[in-house]
């Protein structure tokens, strides 16, 4: 199956990643988002959170891999949006927490394909309305 002949409802891929405190520290450095709620339990508790939470952008950026692994060329991505509906609390242990992403084609026209991604953690949806639009014109 190629991206060109894809039908609405097609499941394009899935991905499970483990988010650990070490990964959050790495993402903080790479993204330069040093909000302490992503590394300090004290700062997280001050906002009423149950512990250090993953950067929304880490979860969102990770979920987009479902799309870019499918299309191959990340330059095809034209739009991407999500709501951060539930915080992803990351425990201070070696296992971290698993985030599971499933992408399905939700719309397609002559120029673009829209993928909706369901992102779950601990059996709850953590990102809402996750949609990525890819341009067919950029695809091989």
């Amino acid at each position: 199956m190629t991206v060109m002949d894809v039908a609405v409802g097609t499941r394009i891929g899935e991905l499970t990643v483990s988010l650990t405190r070490a990964r959050l520290v790495r993402y903080a450095g790479a993204s330069t988002d040093f909000n302490p709620i992503h590394w300090s339990d004290r700062a997280a508790a001050a906002l009423g959170l149950d512990g250090v939470i993953a950067h929304g952008m880490l979860t969102m950026g990770t979920a987009l891999r479902v799309v870019t692994d499918w299309v191959g060329d990340p330059a095809a991505v034209r739009r991407y949006s999500a709501r951060f509906t539930r915080p992803v609390v990351v425990p201070d242990d070696d296992l971290g927490v698993e985030v599971h992403c499933v992408g399905t084609v939700s719309a397609a026209d002559e120029d673009t394909v829209t993928v909706t991604i369901v992102v779950r953690c601990r059996d709850e949806v953590v990102l809402g309305a996750v949609t990525a639009v890819v341009s067919r014109g950029d695809l091989p």
Binding site: V17, R23, R26, Y27, G29, A30, S31, T32, D33, F34, N35, P36, I37, A43, A46, L47, G48, L49, I53, H55, G56, M57, L58, M60, G61, T62, L64, R65, T68, D69, G72, D73, P74, A75, V77, R78, R79, Y80, S81, A82, R83, F84, P87
Partner: protein, 139 residues
């Protein structure tokens, strides 16, 4: 005086020019555990959400604006939307311009929408990053 809807429309000066390097692209892709070959080699393309790096620099203006009295550590990201006009690539030199789009105050919670527009130094649009965040004011 804290942030109010009177600040909607406020736009900050462009961030200092940021040159996208292969090394930073590799670092960012590794942070996402993303081994897409587009992010490797001598002149890689940046992962789409790399835009957040320049976005973070643009957000600094918001937290440095004493009139708004916002604190990064009291902020939780609520939603995010990106539009790419073209991919960001090694060697691009870009700036980000942040504007405040909306402000809603509900008790101690301030819901703030901002957009960061990334442009090359020649003014070519690269990407727009719109975010809503919730700032909880300390009592």
């Amino acid at each position: 005086m804290p942030i109010t809807d009177a600040h909607v429309g406020r736009t900050y000066p462009p961030t200092a020019p940021y040159e996208v390097s292969a090394a930073k692209i590799v670092e960012f892709a590794a942070a996402l555990s993303d081994d897409n070959p587009a992010y490797a080699g001598d002149a890689p393309t940046a992962p789409p959400t790399f835009v957040a790096v320049i976005g973070a620099a643009a957000w600094d203006a918001l937290f440095a604006d004493t009139e708004l009295d916002l604190s990064l550590q009291r902020v939780v990201h609520a939603d995010q939307s990106f539009v790419w006009h073209r991919p960001l690539r090694t060697g691009d030199v870009v700036t980000g311009v942040l504007s405040i789009d909306k402000v809603r105050c509900r008790g101690a919670m301030e819901i703030v929408g901002v957009t960061v527009r990334l442009r090359t130094l020649d003014g070519e649009p690269v990407a727009d990053s719109s975010s809503t965040f919730i700032h909880t004011r300390a009592s």
